[in-house]
Point group: C2
Chain length 149, copies 2
């Protein structure tokens, strides 16, 4: 009974596209943590002069143990350098990623505000949304904001 009832082809096609979509979502989830960390580390360095484990933990609302584990992974992946008991730094690779994330984040926030979303909600939603936006959509966001002003 698996191959019967082909009925409406368009829906079948839509489901094919979706299979790709779910893969895209899983990929995004993998880079998400790295992106959030490097962006936050860059922010902290810019604002307070250094990024410490404790600051990251409080910024993300998680424990320092979790931060520590994740930082170890990011170090292994070449985004972050860390000496024991010292504050954290980004590698050039990490810095580049942080800049791209920051710019994307700002575009998303600006776009949401431009369609009437409150500043606070724009910030809240952008944090989740930004990781799932393709270059094409990002371009459309930027173009919309630009055209509007």
């Amino acid at each position: 009974m698996t191959t019967t009832l082909p009925k409406n082809a368009p829906s079948g096609l839509r489901r094919e596209i979706r299979a790709a979509a779910f893969e895209q979502v899983r990929e995004a989830h993998q880079s998400e943590t790295a992106e959030d960390y490097v962006e936050m580390i860059a922010d902290l360095i810019a604002e307070k002069g250094e990024a410490r484990v404790v600051d990251l933990a409080s910024a993300f609302g998680i424990t320092h143990a979790t931060v520590n584990k994740t930082v170890a992974r990011l170090n292994k992946e070449g985004f972050v350098t860390n000496e024991k008991y010292r504050s954290l730094f980004l590698t050039p690779k990490g810095q580049k990623m942080a800049e791209a994330c920051k710019s994307r984040h700002e575009i998303v926030v600006g776009f949401l505000k431009s369609i009437g979303v409150s500043a606070r909600t724009a910030e809240l939603d952008a944090e989740g949304v930004e990781h799932h936006i393709s270059p094409e959509t990002l371009k459309a966001f930027a173009a919309f904001v630009k055209k509007k002003k």
Copy 2:
């Protein structure tokens, strides 16, 4: 050196908002799987008359073993009913969730298309984005599309 250099207050505030944002993202991730599954099950039932483990696996692009494990959890959480070796059904609770997801999904896709994103990319991105959109932003999306036509 943690409490020195308060320099720019706005950024500090922005970071406070973000702590809430990350919590929101983590919450969204928890419901994400359930939402994807009930929506897909509803779709399959609507289109093919039944939803089988194999269909879900191929639709999501994962193995049937993973589907099975997840379905067991969704059953425990009251979204799905499943008898051994038989196809899957949604509980009323699951159906309600599926409808809400479907409607939200359509709003997001429609919105993306309305700002010039291609149909395919709109579908691809919506799958990731839809789980991270607050009611306020969803409302803004819907209002925008409505106003435009």
